[in-house]
Every structure is written in structure tokens, then in C-alpha cells.
């Protein structure tokens, strides 16, 4: 099996077709039988699906299943995709969030698994431990948020999408997105308040 690390990123000019080519155009190329387009779409959009699913579910195995299924739906819809109708990434984020909600509905009280996060080889062991502790703390706090607040916070602050784009994905107004992210951030700060020292943030 191929690891993404071996896939040249389109942003780095790794493919003849990618680089300045839009997701839309890549999807059309894929629908016309271009396997290289599948590679570029996977490297662009696969991590997006996995990242969102991971932050929404807090479970790596479930996040992998969701990300793979979301991409499968993209491959299947490709021949019927109408260019310019919607952003591919917007559609894919919405599919990913819906798949996450399906899993949560099936398993409403799933236990939070230990989350093995990717390791940055450039870090020293203590730095790595602190980074892992911080991500674990953030994930635990995220899991305490109501679903809609968690969706808005993850899309805004981790995926770094604009409020109008989030509004499009979630099917709500921009004002509602702003309200959800603000309430979500307040709840996260409250949940993390007791762990400042543990996470390496000195008081005062």
C-alpha cells in the first residue's frame, strides 16, 4: 500500500496535471479515466477528510473509515459532477460531516480511544510528549462540545475555512456560524482551564 508521503503534492508541482488545476477540473479528468487525477485529488482532499473526521469522532479507526468512504463517494459522483455548480471541497466536507454523524448516531456513547498522533521527527522526546498531551487535551475538550459547535470550531480553527464557506457546508447563516464558533471557543477554554499547568502554560 502507498503512503501519502510518497505522493507528490500538487502544490509542490509534483504532477503534470496539477499545480494550478482546480479540484473541479481534476474531478473531470478523473471522470475521463485519468488515474493521475485520482492521485492528486487524494493528496489534496484525503487529509482534509481524515482530519475533520478525526477531530469530530476522536477515533482513528472510525476516522479512516469515514475518510475512505467520503472519497469513495467522490469517485462515484465524478461522472455526474457539474463543473461550477459547487466547490468540490465544500461538497466533500459536508459528506464527511454527515458520515461522522451517522457513526455517532449508531454509537452514541462510544469511548474515546487513545489517539496515536503522527510524530514529528524533528522534535525532542519531551517536546513531542508535550505536543501529544496538548492535542489529546484539545481532542478531549472538543469531544465535550455539542456536535454543531464542534463542527463549526473544527472547520474554522483547524481547517481554517472562511465563515461563508462553513455556512455553506453546514447549511446555516454566517451569523449562526459566528455564534457557534464563539460559544464553542468559550466552552473549550473553560474545559481546558484546569489543565494549563499540565499542558505547559504557566499561570500569571
Amino acid at each position: 500500500m502507498e503512503d501519502l508521503t510518497s505522493i507528490p503534492s500538487p502544490a509542490r508541482g509534483g504532477s503534470a496535471v496539477a499545480g494550478e488545476v482546480s479540484d473541479d477540473a481534476l474531478l473531470v479528468l478523473f471522470a475521463n479515466g485519468d488515474q493521475a487525477a485520482a492521485r492528486d485529488l487524494t493528496s489534496r482532499l484525503g487529509p482534509r477528510c481524515y482530519s475533520v473526521a478525526m477531530r469530530m469522532l476522536g477515533n482513528p479507526a472510525e476516522a479512516e473509515d469515514v475518510a475512505q468512504e467520503a472519497m469513495m463517494r467522490l469517485w462515484r459522483i465524478a461522472p455526474d459532477w457539474r463543473s461550477g455548480q459547487a466547490k468540490v471541497s465544500t461538497w466533500l466536507y459536508r459528506v464527511t460531516l454527515n458520515l461522522c454523524m451517522d457513526i455517532k448516531r449508531r454509537k452514541p456513547h462510544a469511548a474515546l480511544d487513545a489517539v496515536p498522533e503522527p510524530r514529528d521527527q524533528a522534535m525532542t522526546a519531551p517536546e513531542r510528549m508535550q505536543e501529544e498531551a496538548r492535542v489529546d487535551a484539545l481532542q478531549s475538550a472538543l469531544m465535550q462540545l455539542p456536535d454543531r459547535q464542534r463542527q463549526a470550531v473544527v472547520l474554522r480553527h483547524i481547517e481554517e475555512l472562511s465563515n461563508p464557506e462553513i455556512a455553506g457546508i453546514m447549511g446555516i447563516s454566517v451569523e449562526a456560524v459566528e455564534s457557534l464558533t464563539a460559544r464553542g471557543k468559550r466552552a473549550l477554554a473553560k474545559a481546558l482551564a484546569g489543565r494549563r499547568e499540565e499542558l505547559g502554560y504557566d499561570d500569571g
Binding site: M1, I7, T42, Y50, S51, A67, R134, V135, I158, A189
Partner: protein, 114 residues
């Protein structure tokens, strides 16, 4: 509160550093799915089954064959109804045969009666 926001932003930044990561093998599975969808979609489309009456039509030789057959049928019916003078009238033959059978049936039933 400002401090807390900064810390939260730092935590988000840590999560963002891990954003472009895919677990080992997942990209491969995604692309295998893509290849599978490609192979499914590139299968030659099954030719649509022609209706039975069209298949019979073709079997009989299309318009030319069916036209000839219809002409032959019409001629047969016409000859049957109005035969040329040198041929015996099939209607007469049929009536004669019926009468013969009727007589033989009567004879047989009379025999059994006795």
C-alpha cells in the same frame, strides 16, 4: 481571557500541524477505490436486448422477407377462396369429407346399437 485565547490558538496550531497527515496505507486504499470505480465505469455497456417481435422480424428476413411472406399468404388465401377452374373447389372437397364422416359415424353407432 486573552491568555486563554492565546493558549487555545496555540492548541489549534498544534492540531493544524497534524492536519495534512494521512495514516499509513489510507491514501493507497483511497486510490485503489478510485481504480476500482474506473474499472467498473469502463466496462463495455451491455447491448440492449431487442424486443422479441423485432428478433422474429429479423429472422424472417426484414422488410423484404416479411413482404414476400405476406404476398404469398394473401395469394394462398385468394386461391383457396376462388380457385382457378382447372383445380377442384376446396370447399366442395371439405363438405364431401364431412358428409362421408357423418355417414360412417352413423353406421358405427347403429352397429353398436344392435
Amino acid at each position: 481571557m486573552v491568555d486563554h485565547d492565546t493558549e487555545l490558538d496555540e492548541l489549534f496550531a498544534v492540531a493544524r500541524r497534524q492536519r495534512d497527515h494521512l495514516p499509513e496505507g489510507l491514501a493507497g486504499r483511497m486510490m485503489a477505490d478510485a481504480a476500482q470505480v474506473h474499472s467498473e465505469q469502463s466496462l463495455p455497456e451491455q447491448p440492449r436486448q431487442r424486443p422479441v417481435w423485432l428478433q422474429v422480424f429479423d429472422f424472417l428476413g426484414g422488410w423484404r422477407g416479411v413482404g414476400g411472406l405476406a404476398t404469398a399468404c394473401a395469394a394462398g388465401i385468394w386461391i383457396g377462396l376462388a380457385p382457378p377452374s382447372f383445380l377442384p373447389d376446396p370447399l366442395d372437397l371439405l363438405l364431401q369429407q364431412d358428409e362421408t364422416e357423418l355417414i360412417s359415424d352413423l353406421t358405427l353407432s347403429e352397429l353398436y346399437m344392435e
